[in-house]
């Protein structure tokens, strides 16, 4: 993965393997969204689903993470049946794009590369991505689509992005280290 160009890392390679992985990621997103959450606030829960785009992003890049989160959210809404809120789906997908940008700064999980500096960049990107997605994208879309009040939406989005950042950092970083260690054990061949 290290020798690919920036554009290739950004878009990912769309072969059958990526498609299947993104589909399974979307399904996992839907399951975690429906069954793996702890409610905190109106419209928002401490959902563990946002871990899925991190994993997809680590393996395939930001665009696959974006698709997995977007499709996963739509599917989660259809299964849960609580109505489809496009403002939050698009917000989640935008956040996924930032969270899943791991290959762009050199964290190649599938090759076992994930160090402390990558974890720091990852945490910063989590905060930045959630702020953009839920501080700008979602409130605007909520007001435009559903006529929600801007102030209330900002508060909800604030709570939502805080809980997302919490989950992505507290759960995400240990999982990324574990994954990297596991992949490293498999690819233990060195060039002499």
């Amino acid at each position: 993965m290290a020798n690919k160009s920036f554009g290739q890392k950004l878009l990912g390679t769309w072969n059958t393997r990526t498609i299947v992985a993104v589909a399974i990621g979307a399904a996992l997103f839907g399951v975690l969204m429906n069954y793996g959450g702890i409610p905190v606030f109106t419209n928002t829960s401490l959902t563990t689903a946002m871990i899925v785009p991190v994993i997809i992003g680590a393996m395939f890049g930001p665009l696959p993470a974006f698709v997995a989160a977007g499709v996963g959210n739509v599917i989660a809404d259809l299964i849960g049946g609580w109505g489809m809120w496009f403002d939050w789906s698009i917000g989640n997908a935008v956040a996924a794009c930032f969270v899943g940008a791991l290959p762009l700064y050199g964290a190649y999980i599938t090759e076992g590369v994930f160090e402390v500096k990558h974890a720091v960049i990852y945490a910063i990107l989590c905060a930045l991505g959630n702020m953009i997605a839920f501080g700008v994208v979602t409130p605007i879309l909520t007001t435009v689509f559903y006529g929600g009040d801007l102030n209330v939406t900002f508060l909800q989005a604030f709570a939502g992005s805080l809980s997302n950042i919490l989950v992505e950092v507290v759960i995400g970083i240990p999982i990324l280290f574990l994954l990297a260690r596991r992949y490293k054990a498999r690819t233990n061949l060195e060039e002499e």
């Binding site: 299947v20 399904a27 419209n43 801007l150 102030n151 759960i171």
Partner: protein, 306 residues
């Protein structure tokens, strides 16, 4: 777990179930656009009634729908409105454009007729949106959804993602329950007994095996699909997409009529002859409406002005 699922995996017997995938997806997309584009109760109520008729005509199992609706009502509408009242009691003035005060509370809190109207319209709008998603979820099977999306112009690889994701959801949900049970048996506390922080840390023990079992299947499925020649050609036909029947044609025409009506409404009432406020209100004449710029209502804009 399964009794909470609303979507069907097998096609049902009624007229709406038998429509082709494209008809349903097209109707749903246009319906969503119509609901999103209008803040007018004169449009939303007919759409709501239409969607309720659709739901009733499919003779669904009402219990999960009503449970989900009750949960959504409590969390989104009740809590949301209490918050709305505390955070911005001016919402009536900002969105409807009038200020008939009914009750003056302490400080900046007050209830106006327009505030109640705003709450009511937003509730109708959200309920209509909910009903349209419900009608769509009840009528459509995953394969029909994917084939309909493909016919709407989405690349077929994305449509495969949709149908494949649906296909794997029951498996992953089973894995999730099994892993959670076995982890709880080993003493990893997930229930409400543990604090939120503890539960958050324990989730790692649950997610890691779940991720490995889920993504462990990727290579097998991808190889099986490659062996069957997936992705070789630019186009793909769908087993679920049938020749349009008489009813399909009728529904497609009705959908196009709805689309034209929505576009006409938006062009007429938003651009050519715009209503001064965002929401229409029966007791305010056009001259009486106070129009407020939405950007000025955000609380942190005040900080910049000072």
């Amino acid at each position: 777990m399964n009794n909470r699922m609303v979507i069907n995996y097998t096609p049902g017997p009624t007229l709406l179930h038998k429509l082709s995938g494209f008809t349903k997806v097209f109707l749903f997309l246009v319906m969503t656009v119509a609901i999103i584009a209008t803040y007018d109760i004169r449009i939303l109520v007919p759409l709501l009634i239409l969607n309720i008729i659709e739901i009733v005509s499919m003779k669904p199992n009402y219990k999960p729908i009503l449970i989900v609706f009750a949960i959504t009502f409590v969390t989104v509408t009740l809590l949301g409105n209490v918050m709305l009242f505390l955070v911005s009691p001016d919402a009536g003035l900002n969105n409807v454009g009038g200020n008939h005060i009914l009750w003056q509370g302490p400080g900046r809190l007050y209830i106006s007729k327009e505030f109640l109207w705003y709450m009511f319209v937003v509730f109708i709008k959200r309920t209509t949106s909910f009903a349209s998603v419900m009608a769509f979820a009840l009528a459509t099977t995953p394969s029909e959804f994917a084939s309909g999306l493909n016919k709407c112009g989405l690349p077929y690889k994305v449509c495969t993602i949709v149908s494949l994701a649906y296909r794997t959801i029951p498996d992953i949900a089973n894995d999730f329950v099994n892993i959670r049970n076995s982890m709880m048996m080993r003493g990893v506390e997930m229930s409400k007994k543990a604090s939120v922080w503890k539960r958050l840390k324990n989730t790692v023990y649950l997610l890691v095996p779940l991720i490995f079992t889920a993504f462990g299947k990727v290579n097998d499925i991808a190889n099986a699909m490659d062996l069957r020649g997936y992705g070789k050609h630019k186009k793909r036909t769908w087993f679920a997409e049938n020749e349009p029947t008489k009813w399909d044609k009728i529904f497609r025409v009705l959908t196009i009529v709805l689309l034209i009506a929505t576009v006409y409404y938006v062009v007429m009432y938003r651009f050519i002859n715009p209503w001064p406020a965002k929401f229409w209100c029966p007791w305010l004449a056009r001259e009486e409406v106070i129009s407020v710029n939405a950007i000025d209502t955000i609380f942190f804009m005040d900080w910049f002005k000072k």
